[in-house]
């Protein structure tokens, strides 16, 4: 990897200041994507700003009808936190399906959604549960956060502080994983909460997207058979050596039905 300046700020304002000063700074959380990307020289930051010591980004807590997950919370911490397991088991199950134990011990929710990998799992949770992303400057609705392939609504030097998940009445995440990497070939989060039914799909398109036809049908009757008649178009879906666009379209319906069964 190319050389860089390593910085380890002690507070959120200091981290933002260091990023603002840097010629081309990048924030480092768990590094599970960033470090391999740097090793491949696909990215070469001038400054790497390590968020490890930022207390503002840590911890999981319940606030009213929401679970707030700090940006540097690891997948393993999400899996093992009793409040998440009790109140949002779909999120704990999603986190447990990411990568492998060593990746879950380091990888973070903030890093995952900031990276916005089209096959990552957390985007399905952020959109499928109607979460809100809190940054150092504002709050961003989950629906507005992911804007394209590896693209988000974050501004330069803007830092994710936490993700707030409203607790749904029911929810489940089902994915068809790539057997080697455990990334989603297709993953579907289905939830029913105060603002209705959400169906969010990851792995299938350039970024996470909702399926309004499925949401409307499930709002009337939350049962897998209502999805039977809905056709998912393969247009603009991803196509690679793992799965064709048509196969991904098929998997969206299969995973959505399984998620509805699991959530019922």
């Amino acid at each position: 990897m190319y050389q860089f300046v390593y910085q380890r700020p002690g507070s959120l304002p200091e981290a933002v200041e260091q990023s603002t000063q840097a010629r081309e700074g990048l924030f480092l959380a768990g590094g599970m994507t960033l470090i391999p990307t740097m090793k491949l020289r696909l990215t070469a930051p001038s400054n790497l700003i390590d968020l490890t010591d930022l207390a503002e980004l840590k911890g999981i807590r319940q606030e009213g009808n929401a679970i707030i997950v700090g940006a540097t919370t690891t997948h393993a911490q999400v899996v093992s936190t009793p409040e998440v397991r009790d109140l949002l088991p779909a999120l704990a199950a999603l986190a447990e399906s990411i990568g492998d134990p060593q990746v879950r011990n380091r990888g973070t929710i903030g890093g995952s959604i900031a990276n916005a990998d089209p096959a990552a799992d957390y985007p399905a949770a952020v959109v499928g549960l109607g979460a809100i992303v809190k940054t150092n400057t504002r709050t961003i609705a989950g629906d507005d956060f992911f804007t394209g392939l590896f693209e988000t609504a974050l501004d330069p030097n803007e830092l994710i502080v936490a993700v707030s998940f409203p607790i749904p009445q029911r929810a489940a995440y089902m994915k068809f994983p790539n057997p080697a990497s455990r990334y989603a070939i297709v993953g579907v989060m289905v939830s029913q909460g105060n603002d209705g039914v959400r169906v969010a799909v990851t792995g299938a398109g350039p970024n996470v997207f909702r399926v309004p036809e499925m949401e409307q049908a499930l709002a009337v009757n939350f049962a897998p058979e209502v999805l039977e008649e809905i056709t998912v178009s393969a247009d603009e879906l991803n196509e690679d050596l793992h799965a064709s666009a048509d196969y991904r379209a098929h998997l969206i319906k299969v995973m959505a039905k399984r998620a509805v069964v699991a959530a019922t």
């Binding site: 390593y6 380890r8 480092l28 134990p101 060593q102 011990n105």
Partner: protein, 156 residues
């Protein structure tokens, strides 16, 4: 520009001057000459480089040395005491849990993280946990048996 990293490595306080781009596995192998931790794929898939950082198993090829400043690091070399193998190492020997042995240090460090949280894992829990460890001699059945027996020996 080099940076000084101070860690506890297998119970001993040590420090080294490294470039920020130095990987933890390079610090362990090249600076401290503990070559039991291996580099297999160098892309965080194979798990030959698994060590413990503050008690959690991690892939040391995908961590910068500077990130573990102040941390407690344990490698495979920390296990045998006074020439006696750790019960998990002994179980791998007894149950032929290795063929070429290249993946073994990482597999054992990964297994010990599982057993720290789940002292009596089922066969399926062991197999699921080994998602991040590849054995290219394809010796998984004996590896699973060895971990199960090692866990039993550790429970006493």
């Amino acid at each position: 520009m080099s940076v000084t990293v101070s860690i506890t490595l297998n119970g001993e306080s040590v420090s080294a001057a490294v470039e920020p781009s130095t990987l933890l596995v390079e610090l362990i192998r090249e600076h401290f000459r503990l070559t039991g931790t291996h580099v297999g794929c160098d892309t965080s898939q194979c798990g030959a480089c698994v060590v413990h950082v503050n008690g959690c198993s991690v892939k040391s090829c995908t961590l910068l040395a500077v990130q573990v400043e102040g941390a407690d690091i344990s490698t495979i070399e920390s296990l045998a005491k006074n020439g006696r193998l750790h019960p998990m190492q002994q179980a791998f020997k007894t149950h032929h849990g290795l063929q070429c042995g290249f993946c073994t240090p990482g597999v054992i460090m990964s297994a010990l993280d599982l057993i720290a949280n789940n002292p009596d894992p089922s066969e399926m829990e062991i197999r699921n946990w080994l998602e991040g460890n590849l054995c290219r001699c394809t010796g998984y059945n004996n590896i699973v048996r060895a971990i199960s027996a090692g866990a039993q020996a550790m429970r006493g």
